[in-house]
C-alpha cells in the first residue's frame, strides 16, 4: 500500500504516549487506524535527552567512561566495555586473556538479563501475566550471578582500561557458585522457552503479526536479534576477537514476525548460557589487568560491539592530558524502532503495541537533540556542533 493510499484509508488517529503503561520508554506513537487495523504509524522518539555525550566532554577518561554505564540500566556493562575497548584500541593496550573472558561472561549474563526482561515485557504487553512473572523470576537468578561476580545487581563497573577491576575476578568460590547456578538456570530457561513456543494461545497472538521482511530489515538497518529474526545473518560477536574461542550459533529466523522476535531472543538465551559455560570451563589463569599504559593524546578511535539489542558504536578521542574529546555513542534502538514503524502496518491496534515492544526499545540510550527553528526541523552540521561544544553550549 502506497503512502497516499494509506492516507486515504486512515479513518482516525489514535495517539499513544508519552506516558503509557505499555511503554517502558517515553516515545509517542501516532497510529492511524481503519476500525482496529493500523494503516500507518508515526513515531516520535526524542522527548527525552540525557546529553551524556556532552557531559563526558573534557572529563578524565577513566571517570568519563563510568558514565557510559548510565546510558542504559539494563546493558550497562556492554556500554562501558565498548567505551573502554575504543580507548584500548586507540592506545594499543593489550588486555590480558583472563580479563577478556570475564568481560565476555559479564556481557553474556547481561544479554540473558536483557532478553529475560524483554520476554517479561512482551508477555506483559500480550496480557500474559503468569509468563511475565516467570520471566522476571528467572531474571532474578541472572541478577544473582551478576551480583556474585561484580558485587552489584545493576551498573557493575567491571571493565577498566587494560582489564577488569580486581573485585570482579572469579575465584574458586565464585566459580563453583556460577557452575551450580548456571546448570539450574540452563534447564529453567529451556523450559520457559519451550513453554512459550508451545503455548498455542501465545502463538495465536504473535504469529503473523508485525511482519518485517528481510528486504525491509536491510533497508532500515534493523540491528541485533530484531534483524536476525527477519533473516539478517549478522552478529558482531562472530567477528570479535574476544569471542573467537567460543562455539555458539547465531540465531537467524526467517518469518520476521513478532513470534520470531520473541523466539530469537529465547533461543539466544540458551546460546548465551552455552558461551558462559565454555568461558568458565576454559577460564585462563594469569593477570586480570595491565595497567602499565600511559595516557596520552589519542586520535579518534572507534569500537563496535554486539549488545543485547544489537550493534552499538562508541568513538572518542583523548587530548594530551587524557581527557575525553568528541565522545559519540550510537545504540541500536533508533533503527530498530524505525523498522517497527513499518512492521506494525496491517496489525490490529493491540498487536501494534506488541510490535513496538518486540524490538526491545530502550530510548534512554538513543536520543539526540533535535533543533526546531520556526517550526521546521534543522540538522546541525559537524562544524556547528563543534562550535557549540567549544562555546560550552
Amino acid at each position: 500500500m502506497g503512502e497516499n493510499e494509506r492516507k486515504e484509508k486512515a479513518e482516525v488517529e489514535v495517539p499513544v504516549g508519552l506516558l503509557h503503561p505499555a511503554m517502558l520508554e517515553p516515545y509517542r506513537a501516532r497510529f492511524f487506524v481503519d476500525d482496529e487495523l493500523i494503516v500507518d504509524c508515526e513515531l516520535t522518539l526524542d522527548p527525552y535527552h540525557k546529553g551524556i555525550e556532552r557531559i563526558m566532554e573534557g572529563m578524565p577518561v577513566e571517570k568519563g567512561l563510568i558514565i557510559t554505564e548510565r546510558i542504559c540500566g539494563i546493558c550497562s556493562h556492554i556500554h562501558l566495555w565498548n567505551g573502554t575497548r575504543a580507548v584500548e584500541r586507540g592506545l594499543r593496550i593489550k588486555v590480558p586473556e583472563r580479563a577478556d573472558y570475564i568481560r565476555v561472561i559479564m556481557a553474556e549474563l547481561e544479554r540473558l538479563h536483557s532478553h529475560l526482561i524483554f520476554l517479561a515485557h512482551a508477555m506483559e504487553v500480550l496480557g500474559h501475566e503468569t509468563m511475565c512473572m516467570r520471566a522476571f523470576t528467572l531474571r532474578e537468578d541472572v541478577m544473582d550471578l551478576l551480583y556474585i561476580i561484580s558485587g552489584n545487581r545493576v551498573h557493575y563497573a567491571v571493565p577498566i582500561i587494560g582489564g577488569i577491576r580486581p573485585r570482579c575476578d572469579i575465584d574458586d568460590f565464585r566459580m563453583s557458585e556460577l557452575h551450580n547456578r548456571l546448570s539450574k538456570l540452563d534447564v529453567k530457561i529451556g523450559d520457559y522457552a519451550n513453554r512459550v513456543i508451545n503455548d498455542s494461545l501465545i502463538m495465536s497472538r504473535v504469529k503473523g503479526t508485525g511482519v518485517l521482511t528481510k528486504e525491509e530489515a536491510i533497508k532500515y538497518a534493523t540491528p541485533g536479534p530484531t534483524g536476525r529474526a527477519s533473516g539478517i545473518n549478522i552478529d558482531l560477536r562472530k567477528k570479535m576477537k574476544e569471542y573467537k574461542t567460543f562455539d555458539f550459533n547465531v540465531i537467524v529466523l526467517d518469518d520476521g514476525d513478532n513470534k520470531d522476535r520473541v523466539v530469537a531472543r529465547a533461543l539466544e538465551c540458551i546460546e548465551s548460557v552455552k558461551i558462559i559455560k565454555q568461558a568458565l570451563e576454559s577460564l585462563p589463569s594469569g593477570p586480570i589487568s595491565d595497567r602499565s599504559f600511559e595516557l596520552k593524546e589519542m586520535r579518534f578511535s572507534t569500537s563496535y560491539i554486539e549488545a543485547p539489542r544489537g550493534e552499538i558504536y562508541d568513538s572518542l578521542a583523548l587530548d594530551e592530558t587524557g581527557r575525553i574529546r568528541n565522545y559519540q555513542n550510537r545504540t541500536p534502538t533508533l533503527t530498530a524502532m524505525a523498522s517497527m514503524e513499518i512492521a506494525c502496518i496491517g496489525d490490529q491496534l493491540t498487536d501494534g503495541m506488541l510490535t513496538m515492544a518486540s524490538c526491545d526499545p530502550c530510548l534512554a540510550c538513543t536520543n539526540r537533540a533535535i533543533v526546531v527553528e520556526n517550526g521546521k526541523e534543522r540538522v546541525f552540521t559537524e562544524e556547528e556542533v563543534k562550535s557549540l561544544i567549544r562555546r560550552g553550549l
Binding site: P15, D35, E36, T44, L126, R205
Partner: protein, 350 residues
Amino acid sequence: MIEFIIATLLIPFAALITGFIIPGLERKVQARIQQRIGPPLLTPGFWAVLKFIYKEKIQPNSPMPRLFHSLPIIGVFVMFFAVLFTTPEWWVVNTLGTVVAVVGLLKVIEFLFMAMGSFSRSILSVSMPYADQVKGAVMKGEYRRFFEQQSVLRAFKMITIGSFPMYVAMFVPVILAKSINFSDIVAYQGFDSTLIFPGGMIDLLYLEKIFALKPILFTLPGILAAFVYFIGYLMMLNEYPFSIEKAKSDVIEGPSLEYASWARGGYYLMREAILFVLSSVFITIFIGLPPTLNLPLLIVHCALCLIMPVLFSVVSAFSPIFTFKQVYPVSMGFTAIGFLAMVVSLIMVI
C-alpha cells in the same frame, strides 16, 4: 410481606459480603499460580473500596462528569435488582423472576460500559500536551480518538458478538424446564419450595435436600451449556482472555480509565456485584439452588458462587489478551456449542 422485605435487605447484603471476597480470591489464585503470595483476601474487594472512598476527589476530564460518576452506582443498583430477581421471595412479583428479566438487566450493564467510555476523556492520549505535527508529520489533521472511544467501539463489538454464548447458554435450562420463570427452572431440578422461609441453623435435613437436587449441570446439554456459560461469563466481565475492551497494552483501563477516588470505589463495587450476579444466576439455573432467606441454603449458595471466580482466575492466569482476530472465532465456536446444547435439550424435551 415480611419475607419480601427481609429478603430485599438480607440477600443483597449477603451478595455484598460475598462480592467483597471474590476479587481477593481471584487475585490470590492468580498470585499462587504466578508463584507469588498475593494480597490479603479482603484487600482488593473491601479495603481497596474503603480506601478509594477516602481518597482526594478528582474532577474527570469528562463532558458530563456527574453522569460519568453516577454510572457505576447505577450499575450497582441494576445488579442489586438482578440479585433480587433470582430470589424466591421476589418471584411473587409477576414477570420479574424470569431469565428474560435478568438478561435485560445484564444488557443494561453492557450498555453502561459503553456509556462510561463515551463520557470519558483521559489525558493519556489526545489530551496529552504534545506537539505532534511540528516535525514534518505525514498525516495532518486526522480526527483523533481517545482511548476510551476506541474502547467503546470494542464494547459495542463485544455486545454484538461476545454476549451470544452466555445468553444462548442461559436458555438451555429454559428449554428443559419449558418455562422462563426461575421458580419453574429450580422446581424442575427438585428444589423444595418449603425450604424457602423461615430457615434455621445448619441442619442435616438441608444437606439431604441439597443432595437430593437433580441439577441440569449434570445432564449432557447442561454440561455443554455450563461450559458455554463460563466463556460468556469471561466475556461479560471483560476478563482475560477477553479483556480487549480494557487491553492494558493500548487502551489501558478502557471505559473506567478516569474513575478515581470514590467513583473508582463505586466501579469496584459494580464489578463485584456483576461477579456475584453472574455466579448466582449460574447456581440458580444450572444447580437449582437460588439465594433464599433460608440461612444455611444462602450460605451454600454464596459458597458455590466462589467456584466460578476461582475457575476464571485460573483461565485468566494462563491466557494472553485476545484481539478480535481470536475473539470472533472463539465466540462463534462457543455459540455453536450453545446451540448444540439447545438442540440436545429440545430433543430431550420432545
